[in-house]
Point group: C2
Chain length 615, copies 2
């Protein structure tokens, strides 16, 4: 639980993250956007997450010695799931260690079809003295040599000095026909942008070199607005109730974005004055608050957003100190509850280009669900709440060091703790695993009730039965004894924790059901279910199916697509054509508003129940 | 010399100025842009500058009683040249009291042909609840009801709240297809702009209501850059020599502009947040420094300006706190030494639409001279220096209270002091008058030498001869004795003061001569000479001709056109068509650079000599 951080650089892309000491390499890789193949769930048994490590690191585990052999270990080969970061490292990720699904949809596919034609362009000009003297003004010299341009003031201010100090060798920075910067010499490769995913709970920024699309650094932090309330509704209410509410919420998120920019710049060694564009994708409430637009109208009928089109402006208007003429872009949005992150997710996955029916589920505090069927995109969102992020769970915590992130029952109970230490709490994936296993072993019934020991089926092993703790009319489950935990206190899963999970899980499933029913799609028609979001990528798919999060479809049709909102923001940052596609998507996605839909309330009630049986 | 100021409002236009106590009404009117007819030179003898005064004022003079009669005085009639401001006043100016020339060219002509089609527009919209609910977003509601618009962030921020608080009654503020503001209710008449003349020595701002072109207030102050040097060359050198020079000069002028804006807003009772555009006209150096552009290149061959096209941007980029999206516009310029003020002067006077050959002379620290002949506009500028503004003259001062602004010799010598007090110093018009009279009476020879008493012609009156003061090899002229002055010390005109006048006067005349010669125009072909600039409008034309400032043409062909740069800036502020005309003028005026022209040096040498004889 130390806060010391180390830099980890992944090859061959050079992408970099800073992680806390003790973080497993597989988690560091995930933070950098690489989902490694780990069919064993990261338990150190399958050996598929093999990487090669350069730099000082911790001694090999027994699993590593057994699976890799001493020779390979001597050459730096390690299992990413069994190696912790204890120093700055450079890590080679072999192509075969990447999870295929992800590689196909995000890394492989997207790296392949990324269009490079950013809105911000740099042009190197070499202006001979004779040309310079013949021009009627410095600006005319530039315009005659290059193309007609309207100068922004700061570019015009830089022009005379730059031209003379660099003997006519200058780089012009343009957006369309606007001249936004003049720099001395050839600075074409120093052209950067940042793509942001503005989540209700988590903010992720990716620093990208716009000249070649290289991702240079990724950084994430909590959205500090969570201190004002866990979900978008409490934040809308804050803006409605408090005259300074909007300003407080905007200041909070802008402050965190500033800190992320500083971290990104430091990690990649990039001067932030060379960042010319930032792109933001978030849900409608997050985007409106980010822009300082009062989201009060999103809290009353007809839940009208202020805008749906792409919004652009100058980064300085948001209080971001980048290049003085740096642009910001906020994603187009579909409606009051289907925002820019959904548009970014569609842009990222290209789901509307698939030859089959596809469902995209982005699991966060808000769950966004998009169906592509017979050429039509339909989207909705549900309030999943922050249970998957560990909030509102008595012993819940985010997926950080000390969190039990995995449970398996095989007669006895096993867990896996992030960072390998003693458990501190339970994160979302652990909660799903535990719930699924409790259902399988009959300790939990489909209504979500933890059974008292006398009602538990006879065949349930004694080792599990003895973990049931009676508390008046309720029963809780002992996850870890006082001897096993970091705090010396036992860790319990309470009956009310299961209720929180049912709310989150039921909301997502009810949303999926309604989208499918309205489109007349049977679950078996779903060619693929794309699972997006930082949390979504760590879910054990069969366990998610067991608790009924998804309809009963073959597990292999569920694909992980990583942080789709971030990747969509990156696409837009890198190409004008993607910006146009995003605008088009914002207009053509059909929006289903479930907030007051009686059908949804019915469906939600049903979906809160766990399936009677399953894998 | 008190600094107490009073507000004077002129009817019927409602234009307002603040002037120091003791200022004559004729001077207050001039500060407000009204040149009153005063063929007697404001000596209280002709009675033509009659106005009607409301409010407390000083007792009538003997001249007023004699010329107007007690009855008229009881009804508030007064002579503007003989009435001082001692309290806040409202003054009616009868049409017949305005100087005809000026009335024709600036007030009459221009008020008549002023086009009203400002770049900033306000549109009132009344959006019914049904329309509001049917729209997919607030912005789409606006766009569908009105027209496609790209919102600036601040407008988008205001939209949701304004729409709901005002029940759909809002005013949209636009620039082209950009939405720059949203205001509650119908605010169409609250649309203001400010036109600035950025002189080397003097800054003048005029606050204008853009919906009807009304001038609401005028304010002027010294350009504080004068503390860094009197003329543009010293300021260019300051930027070249000192790394902080440009910033210091820009800060100085921006600070004064801010103060002028505050004064204009207070005078007219206008909230500066309702000011949407400011337009600046100045010479090339002043415009570049205003914009924070290093003018160093104007100090070396080929004297290249940074730009020639119109420059626009956001007022906040210049540090001006107006409407958050307020625009600034800086006039297009012709070349390194013929700037935006010259373009504004041509725009103001419409000299290029005259059916005859016209010369425009704008006398300031820089003298700008434009010739229109056979469809071609040719312009140049000369460094007149600040002598006409009283600087570099031993007992010189600006045309403020205490300045001797007029001399007449009629056997004895008479003077007129601004404010009617004892003399403190000599201003530019007084210097020209005195020099002309000294030439006429033979006390000064054409080389500019004040003659020793023994060389003075026998017919020169003794009353004047006795004013000659011998100082070694030089002779000076006693303007006022110690008994007559405010300080109790005598006021002398020194031989070196005449030399300063010769430099300023010779520069202007040499510039005129070269323009005429290059165009093959004889002086008698000049249909009109338009005299512009705050100082130019107070010159006694026959005296200016006597000292050779203008070629020998009939006096009635010399027309006063007021502050042409200010008026041109107003034109541009009020109509898009004028903005386009200005841009076209910037391109089509032919620029003659005299700075290194050997012909100019020759001509200058000759023009320093006064004419042998004249009126």
């Amino acid at each position: 639980m130390t806060h010391r951080k180390f830099k980890v650089t992944f090859q061959p892309t050079g992408r970099t993250v800073h992680v806390e000491a003790g973080t497993r390499l597989i988690d560091a890789a995930a933070a950098a956007g690489f989902t490694l193949d780990a069919p064993c769930g990261g338990s150190g048994t399958c050996g598929k997450c093999k990487v090669r490590v350069h730099g000082a690191h911790c001694p090999p585990s027994e699993s590593e010695i057994r699976l890799l052999g001493a020779d390979a270990i001597a050459h730096g080969h390690r299992l990413a799931c069994d190696t912790q970061v204890t120093a700055a490292l450079v890590v080679d990720i072999p192509e075969r260690s990447l999870l295929d699904n992800r590689a196909q949809i995000l890394t492989g596919d997207s790296q392949g079809d990324l269009t490079l034609n950013p809105r911000i362009q740099k042009h190197f000009l070499s202006l001979a003295p004779a040309q310079r003297e013949a021009a009627a003004s410095d600006l005319e010299l530039l315009v005659q040599t290059f193309k007609p341009l309207t100068p922004r003031l700061s570019a015009l201010q830089a022009l005379p000095g730059c031209l003379r100090k660099n003997n006519g060798q200058i780089t012009a920075v343009t957006v369309g026909n606007d001249l936004i910067g003049i720099e001395g010499g050839d600075t074409r490769s120093a052209l950067y942008g940042v793509a942001f995913d503005i989540g209700t709970t988590t903010l992720v920024g990716t620093l990208i070199r716009l000249s070649d699309g290289t991702e240079l650094a990724v950084a994430a932090r909590m959205n500090p607005q969570t201190s004002f309330g866990d979900d978008v509704v409490t934040r809308i209410l804050k803006c409605r109730a408090d005259a300074h509410g909007l300003a407080a919420l905007q200041d909070a998120v802008i402050g965190a974005i500033r800190a992320l920019l500083t971290e990104l710049g430091a990690t990649a060694g990039i001067d932030l004055h060379k960042v010319y564009e930032v792109v933001f994708a978030g849900n409608t409430t997050m985007q409106e608050i980010l822009l300082g637009i009062d989201p009060s109208a999103l809290g009353e009928l007809p839940f009208q957003p202020a805008f749906r089109e792409t919004v652009t402006g100058r980064a300085v208007e948001l209080g971001l100190a980048l290049h003085p003429e740096a642009q910001f872009t906020v994603f187009p949005q579909v409606g009051g509850f289907v925002g820019g992150d959904t548009v970014a997710g569609i842009l990222a996955t290209r789901m509307d280009h698939f030859g089959e029916t596809v469902l995209l589920v982005d699991i966060g505090t808000n769950g966004e669900i998009v169906l592509f069927h017979q050429g039509q995109l339909t989207a909705t969102s549900v309030a999943a709440g922050p249970a998957f992020e560990g909030a509102r769970i008595v012993n819940g915590m985010r997926g950080a060091a000390g969190a039990i992130e995995k449970f398996t029952f095989d007669g006895d109970m096993h867990w896996s703790v992030i960072g390998g230490s003693r458990p501190v709490g339970l994160c979302g994936t652990g909660l799903i695993d535990l719930t699924a296993e409790l259902l399988r072993t009959g300790l939990l019934d489909p209504t979500g009730r933890i059974l008292p020991v006398e009602e538990v089926p006879a065949q349930t092993p004694q080792s599990l039965r003895k973990r049931l703790v009676t508390d008046g009319a309720e029963t809780h489950f002992l996850m870890a004894t006082a001897d096993e935990t970091a705090s010396g206190k036992p860790l319990l899963l309470y009956q009310r924790d299961i209720r929180e999970l049912q709310l989150a899980n039921g909301a997502i499933r009810a949303g999926i059901n309604i989208l499918l029913r309205q489109a007349g799609v049977e679950p078996e028609q779903l060619g693929q279910v794309l699972l997006a979001g930082a949390f979504g990528n760590y879910i054990r798919r069969h366990n998610a199916k067991r608790i009924g999060m998804f309809p009963p479809i073959p597990t292999e049709r569920i694909q992980f697509v990583g942080n789709a909102a971030s990747f969509g923001a990156k696409r837009l940052l890198l190409a004008e054509s993607e910006r146009m596609r995003a605008a088009e998507l914002g207009r053509k996605v059909r929006h289903i508003d479930l907030s007051l839909d009686p059908e949804f309330q019915m469906e939600f009630g049903g979906a809160m129940l766990f399936p009677e049986s399953g894998e």
